[in-house]
Each structure stands twice: as C-alpha cells, then as structure tokens.
C-alpha cells in the first residue's frame, strides 16, 4: 500500500546516500573509477526514490488517509484538492521531506553533467552532497517521520503516533483532520516555500564544489566556473522566495507592510546577502585571479547561513511568528551545523597558503576596489542582521532578561548601509577594471548627476520634504540614470555598426548576458528602492470606528462604510465581510473594497484579509479590525495609504527577469570556455 511504498522508498534513498558517501570517500583518494561511478549512480538514484516517497504522501493527503498522523495534522475533508497537495509542505515532517526531495533533485542533476573536466573533484562533491542529504533523510526517517500512524492503546485508550504497531494497540482513524493553517491557504503560500527551499537547497552545489576543491587542493578557478550558473540559479530562487514572501505577508498577514525583520525572515535574508557578495566577488576572481580565499569564505558562509537559518527556524530557539512547533530535531541539527562549520573552517585553514594569489591592485579607483567595497557593505548589513537576530539569545543567557530587537534597530543600522550599497551599485559599473581615471569617471557621471539634481527638484515640488527621503530618492534616481546610461553607451556602440536601436539593445544583451542581465537586475533594484522609500517614509495610517454610512479620510481618499455581513462557507470558515466604497479627492468613486475577517472553525484561528485598491501611485489598504456582532451597525477600520508600494513588486519582476537573462546558457561562452581547458588537459593527463 501507499504508505509502505513511500516509507521503503525513503529508507532506500537513505541507504543510497550512505553508500554513495562511503564509496566516494574510500575511492576518492585512490581515484578508483569503478567505485566512484557506483557512488555516482547511487547518488543519482536518490531522486527517483524520494520522488516516490513524496508522491505517496501527496496521494495519502488527497485521498484523506487520516490514520496517518501528518495527514490529520495538515489536511481536512473540507479543503480543496490543490491545498491538499500543497499541504505536503504545510507541516514540519512534510516540509523536511520536501526539502530532501528538492536537494536530491539538484544533487542528481549535478551528477548528471559531464565530468571530464573535474574528475578528481567528483568523489568529494558526491561525499559532501550525500552527507547533507543523508542527514536530512535521517531527520525524516528517525525524528520527524511523516509516515507515522495513529494507534489507540486498547488498555488505556490513549492515542499516539508511531511508525510501527505498538503492543496492545489498534489503528486509529480520526473522522477528519485539523486542516492546513489558515495563513498557509493563500496562493502565495503555494509558491513561496518551494521557491525559498529551492534557493536554500541549491546553494549546496557550489558549496560541495568548493569543499571538493579544498580537499583536492585545487587552487584554480575550476570550481567557480563550474558552479557559476548553479550559484546564479540558487540566488534567483532565493531572491524570488524573499520577494514572494514579502508579497504574501502584505496580502494576507494584515499589518500593511511586507518586511518585519522577524528572525525567520532575517534567517532567509542572511544567505542572500552573503550570496550577493559572493556573486560579485567571483567576477573578480575570474577576471583577475584575486580573492580566492575570500570567495571560499563567502560560499562557506552562505551555505552555513542556509543551514543555520533552517535550524533556527525549525528548532524553536528564536521566538518568531513563522516558527514551526518545537521538535526534537533541534539537537541533531545543531550537531550537523557544528560538524559542517568545523570541517569547512578546518579545510579552509589547511589550504590557506595554497589559495593565496599573486594579486596586485593597480589603483584604488578601480572596479576591483569597488567590488571589495561592495563586499564590505553587504557583509556589514549581514553582520548587523545576524547580530540583531541572535542578540535576544545572548541577552537571555547573560542577563536572564528576554528582549526584542525590532524594526527600529534594523532600520537605523541597515538603512544607511543599504543606501550606500545602492549608491555603489550605480557608480561601480562606470569604474574601469585595473585603473580608472577620475576624469573618465566624471565624464560618465556628470549627465546622470545633473539629471538627478533636476529630479530632486521635481520630488521636492511633488511634496517630499524630509531630507532623508530626498537623499534616498536622489540616490535611487542617480543609480537608475547611470545604469540606463550604461545601456545607452553599449547600444550606441552597436548602432555605429549599423544596427537599429532595438536590435542593438537586444544583441547587446544577448552577447553579454551576464553584464547586461546584471544591469537589468540593478534597474530592478532601483525600481524596488523607489517603492521601498515611498512606502517606508510616506506611509499614512489611521484607525477609527464608523457607523454605517460614515466616512473616513486619509491621504486624499475617502472611504465610506456601507455594510458588514457574516456568513459561513463550504470549507468550514465563518467569514465577516465588510463592504466599503472608496472615493478620490474629487469625489469620484474609485473602487468598492471588501476587507474581511475569516474565522477557521477547525483550528479556531482568525485571518484578516485586507481590501486593497492598487495603482502605481499608491495602495489604499483597508483592514476590518472589529465590528458590532449583533446589529452590524458599526465597525472599526484601520486604513493605510502606501505610496509607490507597487513599484516594489514591479521592480521585483524586473529583477527576476534580469537574473534569468544573466543565467541563460550562453552558447558562445561555452565554446570559448571549452577551448582553454583542452590545453590544460594535456598537462594534467598523467594524473588521471
């Protein structure tokens, strides 16, 4: 039956992972090809097996096999089928299995590729990835097993979960399940965790290659080149996951914002920060052979932060709105982190000297220096965020006093650093490699700078008076203009060859995907920055209790409370829905909104869904806070006006498109790359 199939497949996958690790580690130093191939096959086998396991859980969820504890925990009869499928990652046990499934997908894909160029590294890549996969599978098998069933003790009548039938008990099948957490039933929830997990999980590939490079003592750029696309893809998914998380929080959590600096949010942001630093500094290593040690440090940190973040989220060590229920995986996870960090750091220190390059810097005004400054700033933000997230733990340990480090801290500390990063983002592309002259830099910057001055005057006239907001707008405008000027320069150069502007731009981007994809990402960041500045500095909010027919005004909009009704729905919810009409400053009606409060009967949890009217200029965002239950004559509303907030999502789309462009496989690049190693192969042929 399904359960047996799923459980066995999971166990077999675990055995494959162990076998692959052992075989790879024994055969690696000896370069015993047959054993390594066998290990590789075992590694590739993990994915189909875990897929079987995941499918069996989905089948049990959809069919409603409530004797399985996990199904009872996250599913219910009233839920629609697509939510039952997504319930796979709705609880701790299922989401761990989902994590393992994604990880095995990536590791198997990595095994699939041609290995001629890096044969010596393969055993260690297999070992690193399979040890990690094995760890997560062991969590799924021995601690948080989704295949546990409910048994009722015949003597005491107590009902408890177990994998195999305990003595004196019979299988217990509840009538119905608790259902998915209401907050997780939103479309955003369907896609946000998979994206985030994809981002986290795919960082293991560059990490495994880095570790393999350290173990084999290879100090060239092989590992970076090989994993460059992987890293970009990992970063793409992580960025997408973060943006979607923000959007979901805005749509469904009902507090008018999209980023709360909650510990779990920070845990996802930290690897993104070091990952971005890494993406930039590998370019330096590729172009100039510099920073080999530093890049190792960055990828090890990124991956360690992924694991650390996952641990902090799932172990209950931090207090957060996102946290899973406490479970026994904490100590095991902690052990794994300890081993990972100690091994990685040990290997790094052992190879430190070999990694030191013969680098030299020609000028402090150079792109190399700019990238290094970029790294300093990103790591500054990362440290501040990590410190703020961990400080409550330190405080509790040292003084016994629990404290909360909230948004004010992060805004004050990270704000200036992020502004500096955005500013650098605009200047660095104009700075040449090796040595730039201040004059040429000035030549490139003066038009954008002048236009920024004009833009600032415009912003001031439009109503932005706060100096901080103006400075922020100025930086964003300047960076947007310099980035566009880069596009303009390149397009103009191609136009001289006779192409029309559109073709020139298209070909320019197609021929230099990494560069112009990167610039597109920068443009996306600029658009997002405008959105963030607008919604942060100029957000308006108010709250009031209105009688039917009364109005409330905020930010040029007027809303009128028309009615509020209460009704049950098919999927076991009690919905209280208000109808309000929105008018603009001229009195014209611009929308009818329905903010509501859903009360989920099975779990007793409420959910507040805002009514939102969105335009590019701002969002008019209304929450139903309270209402008179019997007479329905008055209700309390909280309204926000969030200026420019939709630029955050628009910028996010541009950002993702840019990343896709940068990551797209480049046929020309491949040809150029293959040419070089041909000569390498002749030198090292003897080693094989």
């Amino acid at each position: 039956m399904t359960l047996t199939l799923g459980l066995s497949a999971l166990f077999l996958a675990f055995l494959c992972a162990i076998y692959a690790t052992v075989a790879a580690l024994i055969a690696g130093p000896r370069q015993a090809t047959a054993w390594i191939e066998s290990a590789r096959n075992a590694a590739m086998l993990t994915w189909p097996l875990i897929t079987l396991s995941a499918i069996s859980i989905i089948v049990m969820l959809v069919q409603g096999q409530y004797e399985v504890e996990y199904v009872t925990h996250v599913s219910s009869r009233a839920m629609p089928w697509y939510l039952k499928v997504t319930a796979l990652w709705g609880g701790q046990a299922g989401s761990l299995l989902f994590w393992s499934w994604l990880m095995s997908a990536f590791t198997s894909a990595a095994m699939f590729r041609r290995w001629d160029r890096d044969r010596s590294m393969m055993p260690y890549v297999i070992a690193a990835t399979m040890i990690t996969l094995g760890f997560f599978l062991s969590l799924s098998l021995f601690v948080e097993n989704p295949f546990q069933r409910l048994w009722q003790n015949e003597i005491t009548g107590e009902i408890g979960p177990a994998l195999f039938q305990p003595a004196n008990s019979t299988l217990f099948t509840p009538q119905d399940g608790s259902g998915l957490n209401p907050l997780l039933r939103h479309p955003g929830m369907i896609i946000h965790p998979p994206m985030l997990y994809l981002g986290f999980v795919s960082f293991i590939i560059p990490y495994a290659f880095a570790i393999a490079a350290l173990v084999t003592g290879r100090t060239d750029d092989e590992w970076i080149r090989t994993t460059r696309r992987w890293t970009l893809v990992a970063w793409l998914f992580l960025s997408l996951g973060l943006i979607l998380g923000g959007r979901w929080a805005y749509d469904v959590l009902g507090w008018g914002g999209y980023w709360g600096w909650d510990p779990v949010e920070n845990a996802a942001l930290l690897p993104w920060l070091t990952g971005t630093a890494f993406l930039h500094s590998v370019i330096i290593q590729e172009k100039r052979g510099m920073l080999k040690v530093w890049n190792m440090i960055l990828i090890i940190s990124t991956y360690s932060l992924v694991i650390m973040g996952t641990f902090l989220t799932r172990s209950g060590v931090l207090s957060s709105v996102h946290a899973f229920a406490q479970s026994a995986i904490g100590p095991l996870f902690f052990g794994f982190i300890g081993i990972t960090l100690v091994t990685s750091m040990g290997l790094l220190f052992r190879r430190w000297d070999a990694l030191k390059g013969e680098t030299q810097l020609d000028s402090l005004l150079s792109r190399e220096a700019a990238f290094l400054l970029n790294n300093l700033l990103f790591l500054g933000v990362a440290f501040a965020t990590l410190w703020g997230t961990l400080f409550p733990i330190i405080s509790e340990l040292v003084t016994g006093q629990k404290i909360t480090v909230g948004p004010p801290f992060y805004n004050q500390v990270n704000g200036p650093l992020l502004a500096a990063i955005v500013l650098l983002m605009g200047i660095a592309p104009l700075v040449a490699w090796r040595k730039a002259s201040a004059r040429s830099l000035g030549r490139l910057m003066w038009i954008p700078a002048a236009l920024t001055g004009v833009a600032l005057i415009a912003f001031y006239l439009l109503g932005a008076r706060s100096p901080l907001a103006l400075a922020a707008y100025g930086i964003a405008a300047f960076v947007g203009l310099t980035t566009l000027s880069e596009f303009a320069r390149g397009t103009r150069a191609r136009m001289r060859l006779g192409e029309n502007p559109l073709a020139a731009l298209a070909n320019l981007t197609a021929r230099n995907r990494r560069r112009y994809g990167g610039y597109t990402i920068h443009l996306g960041v600029v658009v997002m920055a405008f959105g963030v500045i607008g919604s942060n500095f100029f957000q308006m909010e108010t709250q009031a209790t209105l009688n039917r027919g009364e109005t409330l005004t905020l930010g040029g909009f007027t809303m009128r409370f028309d009615s509020v009704t209460q009704f049950p729905t098919d999927d076991r919810r009690e919905v209280t829905r208000a109808t309000i009409s929105v008018y603009d400053a001229d009195g014209a009606q611009v929308g009818v909104l329905h903010p509501r409060r859903d009360f989920f009967l099975d779990s007793g949890q409420p959910m507040t869904i805002p009514g939102v009217r969105s335009t590019l200029g701002e969002d008019f965002y209304v929450l139903l806070v309270d209402w008179q239950p019997i007479s329905s004559n008055s209700a309390t509303f909280k309204i926000y006006v969030n200026p420019l907030i939709n630029l955050v999502w628009l910028g996010g789309i541009i950002f993702i498109l840019g990343t896709l462009v940068a990551a797209w496989p480049d046929a020309d690049e491949e040809k150029r790359y293959v040419a070089a190693p041909a000569s390498l192969a002749t030198r090292s042929a003897g080693a094989d």
Partner: protein
C-alpha cells in the same frame, strides 16, 4: 596524493612557518565559532527543559491586587498550591470555580492557594476574580519573573509545593478540585 595545481613560482620555496598574525587570526576565528556554538547549545538545552517539576520550588514574592506582599518562604509549614492563570485564557475559566472550591475546603487545614496572573491587565483580572468569586490571594506576575523561574510554557499551570518548600507536582492544563485533593491529602499528614 595527486595534486593538480599548476606549478607556481612559490612551489620551489619551502612553505614558511605560519606567521604569528595568521595564527592569532585563526585562533580568534575558532574562538568566535566556539562561542557561537556554545551559546546556541545552551539556548537549545534551556528550550528543551520543561516546567520545573522537582526539587526546591523557586522562591518569589507576590504583590497581590490588594497590595499585600506574600513571599513563598513565609508560607513554609503550609502546603502551597501556585496556580498560573490569565483573564484571556479560556481553560482557566473552566478551572477557576474548581480552584475556589478546593481552597474553601482546605484553607483551614493548612493549605494556601496563590494565583499568579500571567501577562494580564488589572481591570480584566479584577473582573475575572469577581466573576468567579475568588477569595484566595492573587497578584500580577510583574515582569514575568515568577513564570520564568517556574519555566511555564502556557496557562493554566498549577504547581503543588509541600510543607518544606519542595515541589511535589506540576499540573499542565486545567485541573479539578478532586485531582488537587488527591495530590494534597498525603501532604497534610
């Protein structure tokens, strides 16, 4: 061991001994890592600790809503039942009449019931006490110090302390008069 690094100019020169600076840097890095791991380990351990369930009960001083100060030490010689509750807690309302009935039955036999109001507002707390006609002393847990020392994970939770100040029983969730009687009777001998 196969080594695929390309020969670099430094290969001919024997590796110099690790400089003091490098060594200090490495030691610092290991120290920070160690500190981080220890910190997380301790926090993890404390999270897995359940409520206090044995040994000497944590001492505390409760200032009741009427302004009276009662310290646990001063109640030595009596059996003390410490109950954590809150006005916003539904299960607490179920056990409130049970606790009051228990108190009335046993207060002349050397049993004291103390109600510790966890994270609540005074107005609501007083309303709650009035609603259930509660006569035993109740006070707010200022700064959540008392609940932290008992390591409660939620409300309601009840702790039974014997005449010598030793914690005898930890009840998680609501309780009844009969259950309390069963626990307290042996302690009165």
């Amino acid at each position: 061991m196969t080594n695929e690094t390309l020969p670099s100019p430094q290969a001919a020169v024997p590796e110099p001994t690790v400089s003091l600076q490098r060594r200090l840097g490495q030691i610092a890095a290991w120290a920070i890592l160690f500190a981080l791991l220890v910190m997380i380990a301790v926090q993890l351990y404390r999270r897995t600790l359940g409520q206090v369930s044995s040994g000497s009960a944590p001492g505390f001083t409760l200032t009741t809503f009427d302004g009276q100060e009662i310290s646990l030490e001063s109640l030595r010689g009596q059996v003390v039942v410490v109950n954590f509750w809150a006005s916003w807690c539904k299960p607490c309302e179920k056990e409130a009449p049970e606790l009051e009935a228990f108190y009335r039955a046993y207060k002349d036999r050397g049993v004291v019931v103390l109600g510790v109001d966890y994270v609540d507002t005074e107005t609501e707390a007083r309303a709650y006490l009035k609603k259930f006609g509660i006569t035993y002393p109740n006070g707010p847990d200022l700064g959540t110090r008392i609940s932290q020392s008992f390591r409660i994970k939620g409300v309601p939770e009840t702790f039974v302390i014997d005449r010598n100040g030793q914690l005898v029983k930890t009840i998680i969730g609501e309780t009844t008069q009969d259950k309390l009687a069963v626990i307290v009777e042996p302690l009165l001998k």
